[in-house]
C-alpha cells in the first residue's frame, strides 16, 4: 500500500472524528467511548469524503490534487475550531462527567480466542485480497467498474451512468465508488490497493464498532464475545474481501443502532447522537438502495415503539434532530437518483398488472418464506454450527437481562430489523421475475448487512458471563 493511499485513509478518518467530536453532546464524557468513536469515525469519514467527492464531480468534474488540498483545509478549520473550543471550555466551568462504564471483566480464554481470531482474520483478508485484488464478481462488474468509468472518464464522467450499462446497476448510490475514486485521486492514478483498502477499513471498522460499543455498554468480556462471533462468521470476512457494498451498508445500520442506544443511555439532552444517527442512516442510503429501506424501517419502528405516555411527545424533538443529520444526505441521494441514475432494474420492469399477478401467487410467498427460514437459521455456518444457532445456544447458557430487552432503543432496534426482513420479503415477492434465482443470489448478502446490528442487539440483552455467574442471575 502506498503512502498516498494511507494518507487518503488518514484524512478521511480524521474528518470523520472531527465531525463526531463536533456533534458529540457536551455533557457526555468521551473517554468511555473512545474506541467506539474511533471506529465510528472510520465509516463516517469515508462516507462524508465520498459525499464531498460527488459534490466536487457535480461542480468541477473529476478531481485532481486540488481535492486533497481542500480536504486538508477542512481538517485545519476543524482543528482551529476545536482549539478555540477547548480554550473556551478551559476558561469556563467544566461540566461534571459521569463515567458509567461497566466494570471490566475479561476472562483470559475469551481474550485469547479474540486475539487469535483477529490475527487469523487479518491474515486471511490480506492473503485473499492479494490473490484476488479485483474483488468478487460484483466488485469488478459494478462497484470498481463504476469507479473506473468515473476516474477514467474525465469530462465525460457522467457516461458512467449510461442506461447502456444497465447490467451493471448504474442506479446504485456512490459511497463505495466515490471512496475508491478518492483513493486514486490521492495516489495520482489507479491502484488495486485503493478498493482493497476501503474494503479492509469497512470490514474491520464494523468489527471494531461492534466490539467497542458492546464493551462500552455491557463490559469488556461481552464486547470481546460479540466481536469474536462477528469475526468468526465466515461470510463476513469473505464478503469483506470481495469488495461488495454489503459490509459498508451493514456498518451504517450498526452505527445507527449504536447511536440510538447512546441517546437512550444519556437521557434527553443528547440530540447530537440523533443528528449523528440521521447522518449514518443517510450514509447507508448513499451506500446501497437497501439503506432507503433501513430508513423506512427505522422511522416506522420509532413510531410504533413510542407507546409510553412520554414517548410520543419526545418523538417530535427526536425526529427533528434525526432529520437534521439525515436531510443533507438524502438531498445528495435524491440529486443522484433524479439527475444521474437511470431507473432501478427491478423497479422499472414493474407494471400494476404484473404486481397484482405476483402478490396473488401463494407459491411466491411460500418460496420466499421457506428461503428466509432456511437462510436465517443457516446464516453464519462455519462447518460446526450456524451463527444463529450459536447465538440461541449461547443465550440459553447465559440467559437474558429482561431489563435490557424492555428498553426503548432495543424495541426500536428489534422492530427496525424485523421490518427490514418484512421489506426484503415484500421486494422478493413483488419485483423479481425469477424469484428463486434472486433469492439464491442475494438473500445471504441481505442477511449479512443486518448481522452486525443483530449481534449488537443480541449481546446488549444477553447476560454477560459475570452477570450469569453471579448469584440470582437471569
Amino acid at each position: 500500500m502506498s503512502l498516498a493511499i494511507l494518507g487518503s485513509a488518514v484524512v478521511a478518518v480524521a474528518i470523520g472524528y472531527a465531525v463526531l467530536y463536533a456533534l458529540w453532546p457536551r455533557g457526555v464524557p468521551l473517554r468511555p467511548y473512545r474506541w467506539l468513536v474511533r471506529s465510528l469515525g472510520v465509516g463516517v469519514g469515508l462516507g462524508l469524503t465520498a459525499v464531498g467527492l460527488f459534490c466536487w464531480l457535480l461542480l468541477f468534474g473529476v478531481p485532481g490534487r486540488a481535492l486533497v488540498a481542500v480536504e486538508l483545509a477542512v481538517l485545519a478549520l476543524f482543528g482551529g475550531w476545536f482549539a478555540q473550543r477547548r480554550r473556551a471550555r478551559a476558561a469556563g466551568a467544566v461540566p461534571k462527567q459521569v463515567d458509567d462504564t461497566p466494570s471490566p471483566e475479561r476472562p483470559r480464554i475469551v481474550a485469547l480466542a479474540f486475539g487469535v481470531t483477529l490475527a487469523c482474520a487479518v491474515a486471511a483478508f490480506v492473503g485473499l485480497s492479494a490473490a484476488a485484488p479485483h474483488g468478487g464478481w460484483d466488485a469488478w462488474m459494478n462497484w470498481n467498474l463504476r469507479a473506473r468509468l468515473i476516474f477514467r472518464g474525465g469530462a465525460d464522467w457522467r457516461a458512467a451512468f449510461s442506461p447502456l450499462l444497465d447490467w451493471s446497476h448504474p442506479d446504485y448510490p456512490l459511497l463505495l465508488q466515490g471512496s475508491v475514486v478518492r483513493t486514486w485521486v490521492y495516489h495520482g492514478r489507479e491502484t488495486l490497493a485503493g478498493p482493497a483498502s476501503i474494503a479492509f477499513l469497512f470490514t474491520f471498522a464494523t468489527f471494531a464498532l461492534l466490539t467497542s460499543a458492546v464493551a462500552a455498554f455491557r463490559g469488556r468480556a461481552q464486547g470481546l464475545l460479540a466481536g469474536l462471533v462477528l469475526l468468526a462468521t465466515p461470510f463476513f470476512i469473505f464478503h469483506g474481501i470481495s469488495q461488495y457494498g454489503d459490509v459498508p451498508v451493514g456498518f451504517f445500520f450498526l452505527a445507527t443502532l449504536v447511536l440510538a442506544a447512546l441517546h437512550q443511555r444519556h437521557g434527553e439532552h443528547t440530540g447530537g447522537f440523533l443528528v449523528l444517527a440521521g447522518l449514518t442512516t443517510g450514509l447507508a442510503a448513499w451506500t446501497k438502495n437497501e439503506g432507503i429501506l433501513f430508513l423506512a424501517a427505522f422511522a416506522l419502528s420509532a413510531v410504533v415503539t413510542a407507546r409510553r405516555p412520554g414517548d410520543a411527545r419526545r418523538l417530535g424533538g427526536e425526529s427533528r434532530a434525526f432529520a437534521l443529520g439525515l436531510l443533507p444526505m438524502l438531498a445528495v441521494v435524491g440529486l443522484f437518483k433524479l439527475r444521474l441514475a437511470p431507473p432501478n432494474d427491478l423497479m422499472s420492469a414493474l407494471g400494476s398488472g404484473e404486481i397484482l399477478h405476483r402478490v396473488t401467487d401463494p407459491g411466491r410467498y411460500a418460496l420466499v418464506a421457506r428461503s428466509f427460514v432456511t437462510g436465517i437459521l443457516g446464516f453464519g455456518a462455519n462447518g460446526l454450527v450456524s451463527g444463529v444457532w450459536l447465538l440461541v445456544a449461547y443465550g440459553l447458557c447465559v440467559g437474558v437481562r429482561p431489563g435490557q430487552a424492555k428498553m426503548r432503543w432495543f424495541r426500536l432496534a428489534a422492530g427496525a430489523l424485523v421490518l427490514m426482513l418484512v421489506g426484503h420479503a415484500a421486494v422478493f415477492v413483488t419485483t423479481a421475475d425469477d424469484v428463486a434465482r434472486l433469492l439464491n443470489s442475494s438473500l445471504e448478502r441481505l442477511l449479512l448487512q443486518m448481522w452486525p446490528a443483530t449481534l449488537f442487539a443480541c449481546f446488549m440483552v444477553i447476560a454477560t458471563p459475570g452477570e450469569a455467574s453471579s448469584p440470582g442471575a437471569a
Partner: protein, 137 residues
C-alpha cells in the same frame, strides 16, 4: 472439573471461533501462494492493453465474440464484462452496429474468419483480441 452453563456457553463460542480460525489460516496460506501468480482478471485486462491505445478515449463501441445473444453462456457474459472492465471508460454494447467493434475470442479458439458478414478485420492484437470495423458498402 465442574463445567458451568456459562463456561459451556463461552467454550461453545470459542470452538466456533477456532473452526473459523482454522479456515482463515488455510485460506490465508492459499491466498499467499496464489498471489505469486497474476490473477485471471489482471491477465485478461492485459490482453486489451494494446487495443486500448488505438480505440477512442470515450464513446460506444460494438462487441463480437462469436456467441449469439440467444446462446450467451455465463462464461460468455463474464468475458464481455471483463472486456468492459478493461476498456472503461469506453462503453461496450453486444452489437455490431457501431463503426468500431472489439472482437473478443477465447485465445484457444480464435476463428479463422469474421463470424459475421459486412465486417472488416482492422487488426489482430493476438490472444483473441481483434479490432473490427464495419465494411463500407
Amino acid at each position: 472439573m465442574r463445567i458451568t452453563r456459562v463456561g459451556a456457553g463461552v467454550v461453545l463460542l470459542c470452538l466456533y471461533a477456532a473452526v473459523s480460525d482454522a479456515r482463515w489460516s488455510y485460506r490465508a496460506a492459499r491466498g499467499w501462494a496464489d498471489s505469486r501468480h497474476e490473477d485471471r482478471i489482471s491477465r485478461d485486462g492485459d490482453r486489451f492493453r494494446e487495443i486500448r491505445r488505438v480505440l477512442p478515449a470515450h464513446g460506444v463501441v460494438g462487441y463480437i465474440s462469436g456467441a449469439q445473444p440467444d446462446t450467451f453462456t455465463t462464461e460468455d457474459f463474464r468475458r464481455f464484462l471483463l472486456a468492459e472492465y478493461a476498456l472503461a471508460p469506453l462503453i461496450l454494447i453486444h452489437d455490431t452496429t457501431p463503426d468500431l467493434i472489439v472482437g473478443n475470442f477465447p485465445p484457444d479458439s480464435v476463428p479463422s474468419a469474421l463470424p459475421e458478414r459486412g465486417l472488416r478485420l482492422v487488426r489482430d492484437f493476438g490472444n483473441g483480441v481483434w479490432l473490427v470495423r464495419r465494411a463500407q458498402p
